[in-house]
Every structure is written in structure tokens, then in C-alpha cells.
């Protein structure tokens, strides 16, 4: 994956979504291990806020508001002018900063290294946690069998 270009919208959506969903306890050790810290300036320093989550009546109908969730966001610019945004679940400013830096680096020549050392292992961890729950759920699936009763044979 190192030689892939990372500037397509879909891919940026993917890594930003991954960084938003990832638990801080999973992201930060990987980010700390990456070590490279480019210089940057804040465009918007980290702030904690709320996003109102919406659903639809009956799952498919009219929109309605369920309740809010906490989100932390920030924006920064690297010295080469690359802009990175962090939008992450929860209230961690350090996680938001890491996400914005990773978002910026993923648009530079460092993309391959950041992908291999942070994004891919993080994706792997999240996928494995998801598969773990799905496997436990699968084990609680009811396997019906029909008892034969009555006169008919």
C-alpha cells in the first residue's frame, strides 16, 4: 500500500473516519511510536463541542434528533502549506491534534510511512475488535430445530 496515492476523497474520508472512531488508547501508542513531529501552526486550536446525532423514524422515515455526542476538532497547517483537520469522538485534545497531524501527513510524501505505521495497524486493531464482537454474537445465534409431534408420521 506504500506506493498508493492518498489524495482521493474516499481515502481521506476513510482515514479521517478511522481516526475519529479509534479509541485514544489505540491511536496514541501508534502515533507515539511514529515519532516524527512536523512543525505546524494552528488554524483552529483544539476545541471540545457537541454534535446532535440524528436518526430516522422507523429507521427510514423523517429525521429526528436522538441526542448529542462529544467531539473535539482542530485544524492546522504544516510548513509546506498542507492543511490537516482533526474531528474526533470524545474530549481529548491530544487525540484531535494527533488526528489533524496524521491527516496532514497523509497528504504529503510521508503518507506511505504514516499509513504503514499508524493507519494500517490501527485499522487492523479496530477490525479485529469488531470481528471479535461479531464472533461472540454469532455464537449466540439461535439454531432452531422442529420437534415432530402429533399423529402424523
Amino acid at each position: 500500500m506504500t506506493d498508493q496515492t492518498y489524495n482521493s476523497k474516499a481515502t481521506r474520508q476513510d482515514w479521517m473516519g478511522l481516526l475519529a472512531r479509534a479509541p485514544e488508547s489505540a491511536l496514541m501508542p501508534l502515533w507515539d511510536k511514529y515519532e516524527v513531529r512536523p512543525n505546524f501552526e494552528w488554524l483552529r486550536s483544539p476545541e471540545v463541542g457537541g454534535v446532535m446525532v440524528r436518526g430516522r423514524t422507523g429507521g427510514t422515515g423523517a429525521r429526528f434528533n436522538i441526542g448529542e455526542m462529544t467531539v473535539t476538532r482542530c485544524s492546522l497547517v504544516l510548513q509546506d502549506g498542507t492543511v490537516g483537520h482533526g474531528y474526533v469522538q470524545g474530549r481529548s485534545k491530544s487525540k484531535a491534534q494527533a488526528a489533524a497531524l496524521i491527516d496532514a501527513l497523509m497528504q504529503t510524501s510521508a503518507a506511505g510511512a504514516v499509513h504503514d505505521q499508524v493507519i494500517a495497524p490501527l485499522e487492523g486493531q479496530i477490525q479485529s475488535a469488531r470481528t471479535d464482537r461479531a464472533s461472540k454474537a454469532a455464537a449466540t445465534k439461535v439454531e432452531f430445530f422442529t420437534m415432530v409431534r402429533g399423529e402424523d408420521t
Binding site: 475519529a20 476545541e47 457537541g50 454534535v51 436518526g55 429507521g59 434528533n65 441526542g67 461479531a134 464472533s135
Partner: protein, 363 residues
């Protein structure tokens, strides 16, 4: 009339200090950590998030610790905190049909695609106290099986083919938001659902139970109940596209109700809907039953005068923070109010005695 009375400051300070000490409990016992509450009292955390109307498990756990386990007090703390948060925006509607289901059951379709998945449920436990939990010990790993990878469609989708269930056509009308403008009556279904999902679990349960016992009878089956994680997506203006901003656990319940038809609708099944933060199964089913009862007018049913059909009654009393605020304020000093009441009763008493006394003298 309010008259400021001074003199309570020291008493209040000392009361708060004692509260902190009582909250900590015996100091020879380990202190509870926030993560212990988050991980081991997850359903309490879920209730605080749902009724506090803010999805943040760590904050909910902190609120539970601070409130000494008084969940309504914890919900109050969360509601107060959320008013301090700047609003970044509104998410796109969550796609519950793409939920990674921990649990998914149907009381109506045994062989629904995706199957009946029980998940980590209390159902079928014997409700006998488990004294093994009183002792520390390792929990054996839960068994696993080949995980499903395909999406789990909503069960109502299968009934739709036959056109025998009321449709829920998509609409992107901007819904009202109770956190932005106060409820006005008559309301509408999106506002009712917002009110119910953050409403008091006990109240919503009681209302739902009343419909089952015959007050606005609308015999409900749980068409589907699912619990699991969904991604939350929001349009980000500075990016020009939508990204996932997180992932939340939801419980969704869809009831299927008998419906004989009305002047405008053919006989078909109708639906009630519940969607609640976290694993909140009882609340979600109750919400769906109350939602269905409140839809009587839209479906052309008769108003039977049942409490659960009365939108004003249900929505005005569902919020436990409003309720407890008004209820508990009567314990705060009302010395002056009461003084005037006391004067009035004494005066009435004097007048009554004066009326009786001359009569006795005449006899």
C-alpha cells in the same frame, strides 16, 4: 416574594464536605475509578447517556461517581454539562440497517435473514443471585463462531414487499430540536421521539405498560430489536464532504401493531419506533409502544382518552430533570410564603370561631 436570608454559608460548606466524605465511603475500601464504572456498570452509564442526552461514556461514569449512584442526579450533571458545549452541527441520520449487531431478535419472524442473535442478554437467566460474583475470579471467555460479514437488513423490509405494513417514507425535513427551542403543542413525531428517547425510563415504561393493560390498546409485537454500533457521519464544511466523526452504540426497537384500517388507510400493520443511546432495551421497547399510542390522530384512530394518547400529558411529564427540579424545589426555604399562609389560616380560624361563639351564647 423572596427575602434573602443570610447565615447558611458555613452550614452549606460543611454539608458539602460531609457529602464528599460520604461519597468516598470507608477509606479502607478501594476507591472506585471512572473506568471501572464505565466498564462494569455499563447499563447505568447507558441510561445516564440516554437521558442526559449526551453520548460520552467517560463523562457519564464520572457523573455516576459524583452522584453516588443517584442516576437522576447524574443525568442532571450531564444535562448541565452539555449546555456548556458549543454545537458543531448535526449528524446525518444514522444508518441503523448497517449496524454491527451484538443482538438482534424478532418476535414475529423466526427465520429472518441474519437470524435470531441473542447477544449478551439477561433474558433466560434465572434471576437468582449469583454469589460467585461476590468472590473475585476470572470470567471464562465467551464462545465464538464464524462471524457474519453481510449487512443485517431491517425485518420490516420483508413485509414491505407485500405492502401490508405502513411505510416510513424518507424525508429530509429539518426536525425541531428540544435543546434549541421549547416544546410547543401540538407537537409532531420527530419532536415526540426526541422527547421520549431522553425521557425518564420509569415514566416511559409506565406509560407503555398502561397501553398493554388496555389504556389505548394497540397490541404490539416486537418486530425487531437490535443493539450494536453504528458510525455517526457528519458533513464537514471545511472539507466539502462527510466523514465519520465517531461510532455509538444504539438500541433500536420496531414494533408491529395490528391495525384494522381507518377512513384513509387500508387494514395493515402499523409501526412504533424506539431508538435509544447504548444498550437500553427496556427503554427502547417502551418508547416504541408510547410512540405508537401517540400516533392515533395521524392514523385516524379514535381518541380513547387514555393517558398514553395524550401528547401533552406524556411529553410534559417525561423529562425527569424538569420533574425533579420542580418536585425538589419545594424542599428549599419557603419561609416567607409559609409565613403568609400561616397568617391566612390563623385569620380564617379566628373568623370561624367568632361566627360560632355568638351562636352558642344565644342558645
Amino acid at each position: 416574594m423572596y427575602v434573602a436570608v443570610k447565615g447558611g454559608e458555613t452550614a452549606i460548606e460543611n454539608a458539602h464536605a460531609w457529602l464528599a466524605e460520604e461519597r468516598r465511603g470507608a477509606t479502607d475500601i478501594d476507591e472506585l475509578s471512572i473506568v471501572q464504572i464505565r466498564e462494569q456498570l455499563g447499563l447505568a452509564v447507558n441510561r445516564v447517556m440516554a437521558e442526559g442526552s449526551l453520548y460520552d461514556p467517560d463523562l457519564a461514569a464520572l457523573a455516576i461517581k459524583q452522584s453516588r449512584g443517584d442516576l437522576i442526579e447524574a443525568i442532571f450533571l450531564i444535562r448541565a454539562y452539555r449546555t456548556t458545549l458549543p454545537r458543531f452541527g448535526y449528524s446525518n441520520p444514522v444508518k441503523t440497517d448497517e449496524m454491527a449487531c451484538d443482538r438482534r431478535i424478532s418476535a414475529t419472524f423466526k427465520d429472518a435473514p441474519g437470524g435470531q442473535v441473542l447477544g449478551p442478554t439477561f433474558d433466560y437467566t434465572h434471576r437468582l443471585l449469583d454469589f460467585k460474583l461476590a468472590a473475585e475470579g476470572e470470567v471464562p471467555a465467551a464462545p465464538t463462531a464464524q462471524p457474519r460479514t453481510e449487512a443485517t437488513p431491517h425485518i420490516t423490509e420483508f413485509l414491505k414487499g407485500e405492502d401490508i405494513i405502513q411505510d416510513e417514507p424518507a424525508s429530509d425535513t429539518t426536525p425541531g430540536d428540544l435543546t434549541r427551542e421549547p416544546m410547543e403543542l401540538p407537537s409532531n413525531r420527530p419532536l415526540r421521539l426526541q422527547s421520549l428517547t431522553r425521557g425518564d425510563e420509569g415514566f416511559v415504561l409506565g406509560m407503555a405498560y398502561s397501553t398493554q393493560r388496555g389504556y389505548a390498546r394497540n397490541h404490539a409485537f416486537v418486530g425487531e430489536l437490535r443493539i450494536g454500533k453504528v458510525a455517526v457521519e457528519m458533513d464537514i464544511p471545511e472539507l466539502g464532504f462527510a466523514i465519520d466523526i465517531g461510532e455509538i452504540e444504539l438500541t433500536e426497537c420496531e414494533t408491529v401493531n395490528q391495525f384494522k384500517g381507518s377512513k384513509t388507510e387500508p387494514p395493515q400493520f402499523t409501526r412504533g419506533y424506539g431508538l435509544v443511546f447504548g444498550q437500553s432495551e427496556r427503554k427502547s421497547i417502551a418508547m416504541a409502544l408510547v410512540d405508537r399510542a401517540l400516533r392515533w390522530e395521524e392514523l385516524g384512530e379514535d381518541n380513547l382518552g387514555a393517558p398514553a394518547q395524550d401528547e401533552e400529558f406524556v411529553l410534559s411529564h417525561a423529562d425527569n430533570i424538569q420533574a425533579t427540579g420542580f418536585l425538589e424545589h419545594i424542599k428549599l426555604p419557603h419561609y416567607v410564603d409559609f409565613q403568609s399562609e400561616l397568617e391566612l389560616v390563623r385569620k380564617l380560624r379566628r373568623e370561624a370561631e367568632e361566627r360560632i361563639t355568638p351562636k352558642e351564647a344565644a342558645e
